[in-house]
């Protein structure tokens, strides 16, 4: 080692030793510093939970008793074909249906900029009613993917939920909420004329105050078309599930009661709707699953109906009280 380097090393070493000694002495002398560092050490060891087994055991869900009335859960997935993060949200909706069966009423709302058809992703799954819900609840404006579960939340701030939160809220409703309204759907469908007749019977199981509206929607399941993904790029034959297609009532539905209900009050509403000649949708070679009307596509269409709290100014406004779905063609 050159002589100059040895001198430099010696001086540096001495300075370091001097500084370390001074710091050590000072910390040893000063109670404030000792207590402060002790405080940090205690905070470190008490402020952390270290998890060894991240996964919980799989939830065992008991089948619903067909003699009881349950409150179902409307889970809305706001999505779009060019939303790279949306496929996991769709998978979560599938998973909820697989877990809770008929207690979950799924609805995929293709709306916002990521649902606007562009080259490659030209399949248009938007609907006027979906656009209206998206704009009103500020879903895509906040950020996709997202959704709502029974539209729970403050009507004056946000009902926005990331998809990873849907399961917790849905489970809470399923386990703890009581159904105050029973909703029964009966349908008839003529495959030739495409005339659809719907009878929705709403029974108030207890006296409720406020206003309640009934909304009836048309959905189509398993439309095959392109979808953008952050992990797989373009998925040409993505299965777009539970797609909202149209509103059979108006966007915000028809009033069942406007100033409270009586116990066991029954309200029956009948709707006649004709699927348009190009509906479910005109098919193209690039959208192989979106073929012209066929029995297969009719079997994928369903009525989704929900009753929500329409009491203006109430903290529970827009919250879904009951939901049901029924296929139009078995």
């Amino acid at each position: 080692m050159p002589y100059s380097t040895r001198i430099r090393w010696y001086i540096t070493n001495r300075i370091n030793q001097f500084l370390i000694k001074k710091i050590r002495n000072f910390i040893q002398m000063n109670q404030h510093i000792k207590i402060s560092f002790l405080f940090l050490m205690i905070a470190f060891f008490t402020g952390c939970d270290y998890v060894i087994t991240p996964l919980k055991p799989t939830t065992v869900v008991t089948s619903p008793d067909s003699n009881k009335v349950y409150k179902n859960v409307l889970v809305e997935d706001y999505t779009g074909s060019t939303c790279v993060n949306c496929p996991p949200a769709g998978a979560e909706l599938d998973s909820l249906v697989a877990t809770y069966g008929s207690r979950i009423i799924p609805l995929s709302v293709n709306a916002g900029n990521f649902a606007t058809p562009v080259p490659t992703y030209s399949l248009n799954l938007q609907s006027a009613v979906g656009d209206a819900y998206d704009a009103f609840f500020q879903m895509s404006a906040t950020g996709n993917p997202c959704g709502m579960v029974n539209r729970k939340g403050n009507p004056f701030s946000s009902k926005y939920l990331l998809y990873t939160l849907w399961a917790g809220v849905a489970q809470d409703i399923i386990q703890n909420d009581t159904a105050f309204i029973k909703l029964t759907l009966t349908t008839t469908f003529d495959t030739t004329t495409k005339a659809l007749n719907i009878t929705a019977t709403s029974t108030f199981l207890k006296s409720l105050s406020g206003a309640y509206n009934l909304v009836v929607l048309l959905t189509q399941d398993s439309i095959i078309g392109p979808q953008k993904s952050g992990t797989a790029g373009e998925i040409a034959n993505y299965q777009h599930r539970f797609v909202l297609r149209d509103a059979i009532t108006g966007t915000w539905g028809d009033a069942l009661v406007t100033a409270g209900s009586n116990t066991n009050q029954v309200i029956t509403k009948t709707y006649n709707y004709t699927l348009s000649s190009s509906y479910p949708a005109a098919g193209t070679t690039t959208n192989p699953g979106n073929k012209p009307a066929s029995l297969t596509n009719f079997k994928r269409c369903a009525i989704v109906a929900y009753i929500y709290n329409a009491t203006s100014g109430s903290t529970g406004q827009y919250e879904v009280m009951q939901a049901q779905q029924k296929k139009i063609y078995p």
Binding site: K22, F37, D49, G143, S158
Partner: protein, 550 residues
Amino acid sequence: MKKLLFCLGVLLYSTSSYSQLKDIVESIHGNFQIDAQYYNKDTSIGAPIVPQKVLSNGFGNINYIRGGFSAGIRYESYNPVMQGFDPRYQGSGIPYRYARYKNAKLDITAGNFYDQFGSGMILRVYEERGLLYDNTMDGFRAIYTPLRGLTIKAMIGHQRTFFTTSPGVVRAGDIDLSFNELFDTSSKIASMKTRITLGGSFVSKYQASQSTTLNEPENVGCGGGRVTITRGGFSIFSEYAYKINDPSYVNKYSYKDGQGAYITTSYATNGFSVMLAGKYVDNMGFRSDRDQTLNAAMINYMPALTKYHTYLMATFYPYATQPNGEMAAQGEIQYKFKKGSPLGGKYGMEVAGNGSLAYGIDSVNIAPQNDTRQYHYVVKSFSPGQKYFHDFNIEVFKKFSKKVKGTFLYSNQFYNKNIIVENSAVNEYANIKTNIFVADVTLKYKPTSSIRFEGETMFTKQDKGSWAVGMVEWWPVSNFYLAVLDQYNYGNADPTKRFHYYLVNIGFIRDAMRITMSYGKQRQGIFCVGGVCRTVPASDGISLTVSTSF
């Protein structure tokens, strides 16, 4: 509403009593700002219909100080919030109010406060009103200075999320030790040229778990230490942080621990300065709500190691730190050629060179069947992974005469759109490579009058192709300006989308009051953070900003 009336009452009382109490009241001050925009539908650029036509953001801060006591409020109102901002800012309210008392030893705050530990990698609570970013803490903070050179901070509270607070409670402590100041002023160490500061921080958040499938840690801690050494014009700062398992929406519920390291060193002397900085980040996103994304409920902040540009084309493809994993470095050198030197000329010249690089970390995914600990990935080595961004630029500041001065910039940038915009592992978009030239010349033709010309161009073959910008900004008097700007997408591969984005801007400034009005078009953008994307719509309309302070 009652709270608002009460606060206004207090304010009016304070104001009316001001003249009587002026011998004891030290100050009452504040500021207001209102931004509003009228939106036109413009299908050519994709500007949507805005049913309300006019949207606005506004706020007013009022602070009262009397001796060691201070208190204040901020009223905010969004009617509704302007396009491009998070619509969860809805309505009006007072999300910020505080009372604070401090003396020589103790500084205590009840209510809202902002703070930062070290570089912010462990905790940074701040606001950026232009971006509507506000993660203020709502709780208590105490700052204790038991002796000169030693500062101890402790705080507890919830963070603001829009007009509510985050469900997670944040507990935080920090110690800052200025080594030289601890000693008697007469000692050699106190007067040493070398100054050493040590610091240590710890933050723990508690949030109840609501997951149906995961055993989520409810208490998550993040801690670290830092050191700063300065000597004359030289300084070095380094910080290391460690975070335990913190599954969150942003890290895809990974239970892997997080680490971050940051080092910056600089040397400055007369007319010359040099700076080098480096950063390593692995899974360091830290929020007081594990299920939040975008800009909500962030406890920490990791600065992007990139040059802060002000010119439009240089900021066209901006970079932001990728908290899930990043290695980055930046270097800058500045030299001022003296007056009278061959390059300096009569008035001198300043040259700055800056380079920044950002890469992902070298990691590999774990197959789900083998991922019993839910780490999702492992870091293979301490070496760069996929390239995210670079920016190499050189900037020259030159005064040509008493009336004419100019700034000239060349920047070469690389932008990985797949990662930065969509955080997507799929290479859907080509990496964007740009060459940017800027010339900015100001002619000061009278002591209070000037005219500024700005010309910019960005050459690129990717994305929307090349752009050009022309701007003239005229200050006929010192408190009024008129600016005309055009951004032209002349290189768009689709000739039908070669749009002009015009903007006319008028501003009037008088003392602390500033009124600006502009008319023009703004481009559409996509904003993605942590697995959620939001479109910032194109717009066409008139905007107005009024601000003042007292």
